[in-house]
Symmetry: C2
Subunit: 369 residues, 2 copies
């Protein structure tokens, strides 16, 4: 691979396998897969992830929504509570034909929407225990928001949405299953309250890769929004959600220094190229800033990790002299990331690889402009 | 400021003040300032930083080198040990007229350079105690590399370079002063060995914002390469290298959720917009993922911090009900960053502000392509 390092590699076969497996799993549960593209931010990955599904996607920024809509994907949930100043941008997408749904968790936003000149489809976000955004499912404001949106001539209540982000704190499959049930029950309770009060609630949306992978009960759920499953990463593998072999994303790096006297090898992928995400620090096996693999086979190099980073340097501690000698200046390695969403964000695109051949370059839509 | 959030703001007056102060300090020591543009990655910031100086800069990627050279800045040190596969790219810059200097720390690289078809100016990197890249100043390979480069028809030995990155571990001004002396002594020892062996060593280059700010002894040093001083950040302020008022970089964010029942406010700047850098976690005052300031005055809001982040969410814990009420949905805040280099990297440019007016937009050159 004659490309400058650091570079972001995407294993096409693994992405296909991951998206097909998730599609099959959710189809077997009778739930629509609405993949969250915050991880990939790529049209080509979006197309693989919606293949065999109903075609809807999830995004984390309006920049992503505009990008995917411009390329022909119309059914989009913007799954971060919208700031009032972004209503103009959302309304513009709807005016141009996008089937955009926004999410809110406050009466203030419901009032702002009903007083706005644009048209909106609205999901109410429910907090199922992560305590990020969302309303507790028994919150009094839930029905007030449902009423305000339903009564607004320019808005339509699409339903409810939740995200069991607390599943990332689970340390066993059993924990994840329990969390999935909590996620399910919370959003169903909110939906039931809305329907009982006489308002429509056609969409009941859940999502997180761990809970969607291990949850049992999808009754009443209409769609699921996992994201990181398209690539997976060391954190998901450490949680048992995937295996290391499923990780489709890696950073190609070059050895730039080999220092036997300090038992270290330095590579040209550091805090920017790998991200400073340290999520595996909370798991049984701490992978530092990433797992070192052979550049050609993609297989781990005897458990070596990038143990510290500077902006453009990654440090690999190697105490064994013979092992150290296997990493001369110029050798290339692949680093598997802790957290695919954070690592990929430093790059404007992917080198798509099939085995060791680069078969395509796929751009990403980063930023917020 | 009618811009979408999150957005990266740069306070023009503070940048000017910071660059002028560093220029004056180094001029008073008789040392050339070669600002490290890895923080700013911006032509306009580069111009402010080299104003009143000799015009040379430092970069952390060949992408930066190409960017600045294309805009007319020719004297460039690429201050990361070069990978053999990047020699072609470096040689191309030199061929096109750039006064590019590359750095190496191994005999292997010296051999690769002397066998390459291009022309190179080479600095040998010295490890003054950070134990990142570089040769220990008394390392036997130092003179072998000096000989190989000096004897190569296509290469010129420009001198020695070191970086006291361990100054970031200092916890007092006295510690920083001692580290500055160690940095000075290490690189001077290496330069003396090279000269004594009969090779040229015109450049003696040091650099790190803390050591350059507090060092006493610059004898024999020809240039210094601080970088983060152009913007500063909470980590530098926490070390006593600057004050919070000197921090020129901030992230403009909007409140997207206000949850009295959970004593929290959520903003639309999360792990991507702020970075996952947690460097202040090692200091007396831990600022989490950033310090919350008023959007208009830029002044801190009673010590509130972003205590946790998700990809697009930042959480601010606020236990006091009255304080919480001051952050309704839609309010804007500015977040001062832990580490300017990491936070700025998520954006393709700066909104340059003078007071509360956006006076310019300056692009950044991110990535490695």
């Amino acid at each position: 691979m004659d490309i400058s390092t650091p570079a972001l590699l995407l294993d096409l076969k693994k992405v296909r396998r991951n998206t097909k497996a998730m599609t099959a799993r959710l189809a077997s549960k009778g739930v629509n897969l609405r993949p969250h593209l915050k991880t990939a931010k790529s049209l080509e990955v979006a197309r693989l992830a919606i293949e065999g599904n109903f075609g809807g996607i999830t995004v984390s920024t309006l920049t992503e929504a505009e990008f995917f809509f411009a390329q022909g994907i119309t059914d989009i949930v913007y799954a971060v509570c919208i700031a009032p100043s972004k209503l103009d941008r959302a309304a513009d997408l709807t005016r141009r034909g996008a089937g955009l749904k926004i999410i809110i968790d406050s009466v203030d936003l419901a009032v702002a929407i009903s007083g706005h000149g644009g048209q909106f489809r609205v999901l109410i976000e429910i907090d199922c225990g992560e305590h990020r955004t969302g309303l507790d499912p028994d919150h009094a404001d839930l029905l007030e928001i449902a009423r305000l949106i339903t009564d607004s001539e320019n808005a339509e209540l699409s339903g409810v949405l939740t995200h069991a982000g607390q599943s990332y704190n689970c340390r066993s499959v059993q924990d994840i299953r329990q969390t999935a049930q909590i996620e399910h029950d919370a959003v169903l309770l909110a939906a039931a309250r809305i329907k009982k009060a006489g308002y429509a609630c056609p969409v009941v949306s859940i999502g997180s890769t761990p809970t969607v992978t291990f949850g049992d009960d999808f009754s009443g759920v209409t769609e699921a929004r996992p994201g990181v499953f398209v690539f997976y990463d060391l954190f998901q593998a450490g949680m048992g959600v995937c295996s290391e072999k499923d990780i489709a994303l890696s950073v190609l790096a070059s050895v730039i220094s080999n220092r036997p006297e300090h038992q270290q090898v330095l590579i040209d992928a550091g805090g920017l190229a790998l991200s400073k995400d340290r999520s595996t620090g909370a798991l049984d096996t701490d992978f530092g800033y990433g797992l070192v693999c052979d550049a050609l086979t993609g297989l781990p190099e005897s458990g070596l990790i990038v143990d510290s980073v500077h902006q453009e340097h990654g440090n690999i501690h190697i105490s064994d002299v013979d092992t150290l000698a296997q990493f001369p200046v110029g050798r290339r390695v692949r680093i598997l990331p802790n957290h695919a969403c954070m690592t990929a964000a430093a790059y404007d695109g992917y080198y798509v690889v099939d085995g060791n051949d680069i078969v395509a370059e796929w751009p990403r839509c980063n930023g917020w402009k």
